[in-house]
């Protein structure tokens, strides 16, 4: 009877893999940048092109780099939450306005509120390529040392912030003794 058991055993092994697979997200591709220094950039700011925003401006504090665009539906979804975060001073948020029209983007911020300390204008998307952006919205968590701690794809929500970002922030700050008191 033993050889007649082989098919059901194969099915069993497959079922275990499938059950495990249901908990995984095949669309999630981890960023190769994690743990490395963030790609440096320097771009004109969105609202005032005479000013620049670059990776150097983000050093010294934990911060977020949020990739957004007015054509992106997910960005509209998460915008309210970003506004709340900015109001509560949760964490400094920088924007990377990606492949967008400058006037439309400024208008969007004026209408919906501007949660960003500043947004860099990446009209041709070159900086986004360095950062490995393949969709919007994407949110990078940047350490005070300029390293990429985490990358989140899809709209940011409070749940994701608490479940995914906060544990990493605590861990990071234990290692590098940065303060995260005002983040809690």
């Amino acid at each position: 009877m033993s050889r007649y058991l082989i098919p059901v055993m194969i099915l069993g092994v497959l079922a275990i893999f499938f059950a495990r697979g249901l908990t995984l997200n095949p669309g999630y591709v981890p960023s190769p940048l994690i743990g490395k220094e963030a790609p440096s950039f320097k771009l004109p700011q969105l609202k005032d092109p005479s000013l620049t925003l670059g990776s150097e401006d983000m050093l010294g504090r934990l911060s977020l780099l949020n990739v957004w665009a007015t054509w992106c539906v997910g960005c509209r979804q998460e915008h309210q939450y970003l506004n709340e975060m900015a109001q509560n001073n949760t964490i400094p948020i920088y924007g990377l306005n990606w492949k967008d029209d400058r006037a439309t983007a400024v208008n969007w911020l004026n209408t919906l509120g501007d949660p960003y300390i500043a947004s860099a204008f990446d009209g041709d998307g070159r900086v986004a390529i360095d950062w490995g952006v393949y969709g919007a919205p994407e949110t990078f968590l940047i350490g005070q040392d300029g390293s990429v701690i985490y990358k989140h794809i899809a709209p940011l929500t409070n749940e994701i912030w608490e479940m995914e970002f906060m544990p990493l922030i605590r861990e990071h700050c234990q290692k590098f003794s940065c303060s995260y008191g005002d983040l809690e």
Binding site: Y4, V8, L11, F18, G21, P30
Partner: protein, 659 residues
């Protein structure tokens, strides 16, 4: 109110399916005729209520009832009526209802067409089908109710995905599902045989037409999907080894193996446990496909919206249905095997090799499809497996398979004298080599080794498939009219395989695919054809607007045709769609698709020359036609007694060795 009636119908159908699942099986086990007699009425009742539920959903689409969430998400009042019907099965919930409707249709057919079977056996088959129905209906009602209301109702629907607004896609899902789901019937026959712990040669004869029927639908369904991908996705490819394509192809391979194994079991009474295992495997691969498509476990271009809860439900369903059958198999299969005895050179051997190679091919595709999942689940990183893997590994089993096919067709049962075989195949070998090597070199003037191998293989199958009738015609060795329908079916289906191989080989060897930037007024030449880009103009469709390019295609200065590919933007979803224009002929297709506007009136164009690409789908249709011929053979429908009255000696000797 009407949508609620649909849901109520589905609940009633579930109740009847439960009756159909439990009582007849119980009756068969206890020998109670009263319980077994419930199987048919329950199956018919189930069919009636499922059909009602399905029609109610169709009606909701036709009258634009946007108070139904599923309708509001997948339809629009401007959508043409045919596409409103197609929208019923364009997303998860409705396509699941289609799945159920088709299963209940097959169940109805079994209930009606099983009068000649012993009652105990028919009750068990219907009982097993009832279990499958029950599982899928529970799944639908608990996780994916297509009748769910939207409060407040929407004024306008979100429209059908423009990619699916296509005639082939109206037909593709029902036909494909008819094949997929139809494999539940041989599955039911197999489990019923296991339950009764005996398997007669009649069993194989009963199972064959159902299996071939499901296989015919599966073949046509896959071919339609491939044809749609070719002209609608705008890339000019016809097969992409996408997980969802693989999900339909693996059951096809298993069903093909099953058809051949059933032939051995019917004629010789051997391979019994293997045949049973194949019947279980074929339907399990269908369920596996359903799981892969609907759980979001793999990345695919045509996966449905994913939901882990649904994935878990189907996984449990798959484990219960396939796992239950396989446990039963482990307990009972050893009682069925018996030695029939056959020589290494015999039709049995070739069919055994056919089965091994087909299952090997299905296994390699399964591994390639699931490999990203395995690696991810083991925490070993992320990767994807692409066409280079599949194209390579698929050749490993299929090349020997194709060459053995020609030999196997002309071998006798039990033992085949080598000299007779060689004598019989001498001329086909010469013809295949002559035409397989000669034609590509004469027509195209160049060929790689792989191209020649492919052409010889295709020619080999074409020639060997038609050898028998050709010999009868030419040499007068017996009359053509004496060839049985089932024998014709086998030969025609194999002929289709040969045509398919020729199409694949020539298309992949000699296609010319170019991307060009052109403006109106430009002219150029490709593969001996002259192209003139005349102009572009704006076109308004019922629910889209489009830019249409106009291209002259000339050969030797003579105008062949004017092609008008479109770039459409559908109003509701605002998604751009490429409608390729194709001048199709048996010998070649000329394919033009508009890419993007490059400014200044210029466009990026995809211009392709695809020789013999029609042979790919033509081959598949011929295969399916062969299947239909085989089913139409009267010997499957004769009563047992009559069949026994005909002694084997009555059968024409040459028919005996072929069938």
């Amino acid at each position: 109110m009407t949508p609620e009636l649909g849901q109520l119908s589905l609940i009633l159908a579930l109740c009847l399916a439960t009756v159909q699942a439990i009582l007849p099986l119980l009756g068969a086990a206890q020998g109670r005729a009263d319980l077994m007699a419930l199987a048919r009425p329950a199956a018919v009742g189930q069919f009636v209520f499922v059909t009602a539920a399905f029609l109610i959903l169709v009606q909701a689409f036709l009258v634009n009832d946007f108070s139904v969430l599923y309708v509001a998400t997948n339809s629009n009042s401007a959508l043409p009526a045919a596409y409103k019907v197609a929208a019923v099965w364009s997303a998860h919930e409705g396509s699941l209802l289609l799945w159920i409707a088709i299963l209940s249709g097959w169940t109805f057919a079994v209930a009606a067409g099983s009068r000649h079977l012993p009652d105990v056996f028919a009750s068990r088959v219907l009982g097993v089908l009832g279990i499958v129905s029950m599982g899928v209906m529970l799944f639908t009602l608990l996780t994916s109710n297509p009748f769910e209301r939207l409060q407040p109702a929407a004024f306008e629907g979100n429209d059908l995905n423009p990619l699916l607004q296509d005639p082939a896609l109206v037909m593709h899902p029902p036909i494909l599902y008819a094949g997929y789901v139809g494999l539940a019937v041989p599955f039911g026959f197999a489990v019923a045989a296991l339950l009764s712990a005996q398997l007669s040669q009649e069993w194989a004869r009963w199972t064959r037409p159902w299996t071939v029927g499901a296989w015919v639908f599966l073949t046509i369904g896959i071919a339609l999907g491939s044809w749609w991908a070719y002209y609608e996705l705008g890339w000019g490819g016809w097969w992409f080894w996408d997980p969802v394509e693989n999900a339909s192809f693996m059951p096809w391979l298993a069903a093909t193996a099953l058809i051949h194994s059933l032939a051995v079991t019917e004629r010789r009474g051997i391979f019994k446990s293997w045949t049973i295992l194949l019947a279980i495997t074929a339907f399990s691969l269908s369920l596996l496909g359903t799981f892969l498509v609907r759980s979001g476990i793999l990345i695919s271009v045509h996966a449905f919206a994913s939901d882990p809860a649904r994935g878990l439900f189907i996984l449990v369903l798959l484990s219960v249905i396939s796992g239950g059958a396989l446990i039963l198999y482990a307990m009972r299969a050893h009682r069925m095997d018996q030695d029939g005895g056959f020589q290494p050179l015999s039709r049995e051997s070739f069919l055994l090799l056919n089965n091994i190679l087909l299952i090997f091919a299905a296994g390699l595709i399964l591994i390639g499809t699931l490999y990203p999942l395995f690696v991810d689940a083991l925490g070993m990183g992320k990767l994807s497996v692409g066409p280079p893997y599949f194209n390579l590994v698929f050749l490993l089993p299929t090349l020997p398979l194709v060459f053995l096919m020609g030999v196997g067709m002309h071998s006798f049962w039990k033992t085949m004298p080598k000299s007779v075989l060689v004598n019989r195949l001498k001329i086909p070998i010469i013809l295949a080599l002559l035409f397989g090597v000669g034609l590509p070199l004469v027509v195209f003037g160049r060929a790689t080794i792989l191209t020649l191998v492919g052409c010889v293989a295709g020619m080999w199958v074409v020639v060997t498939a038609m050898l028998e009738p050709a010999q009868r015609l030419i040499r007068g060795e017996g009359s053509i009219s004496k060839i049985r329908r089932s024998q014709w079916g086998m030969m025609v289906a194999h002929f289709g395989v040969g045509i398919f191989i020729l199409g694949v080989t020539v298309t992949s060897s000699y296609s010319i695919e170019t991307d060009q930037a052109r403006a109106p007024g430009d002219s150029w030449e490709l593969a001996g054809y002259q192209f003139v880009f005349r102009s572009t103009r704006d076109v308004m469709g019922p629910n889209y607007q489009a830019v249409e390019g106009e291209f002259e295609v000339r050969k030797g200065g003579r105008l062949l045709t004017v092609l008008t590919p479109q770039k459409r933007v559908y109003r509701v979803q605002q998604s751009p769609m490429t409608e390729a224009a194709i001048q199709s002929g048996l010998r070649q297709d000329i394919f033009i698709a508009l890419g993007d506007s490059l400014g200044g009136g210029a466009w990026s164009l995809r211009v392709q020359y695809k020789p013999l690409i029609r042979f790919i789908w033509l081959g598949a249709l011929i295969m399916a036609f062969g299947g239909i011929l085989a089913i139409s053979d009267t010997r499957y429908y004769r009563r047992q007694k009559q069949d026994q009255s005909q002694s084997p000696h009555d059968i024409d000797a040459s028919v005996e060795k072929i069938v």
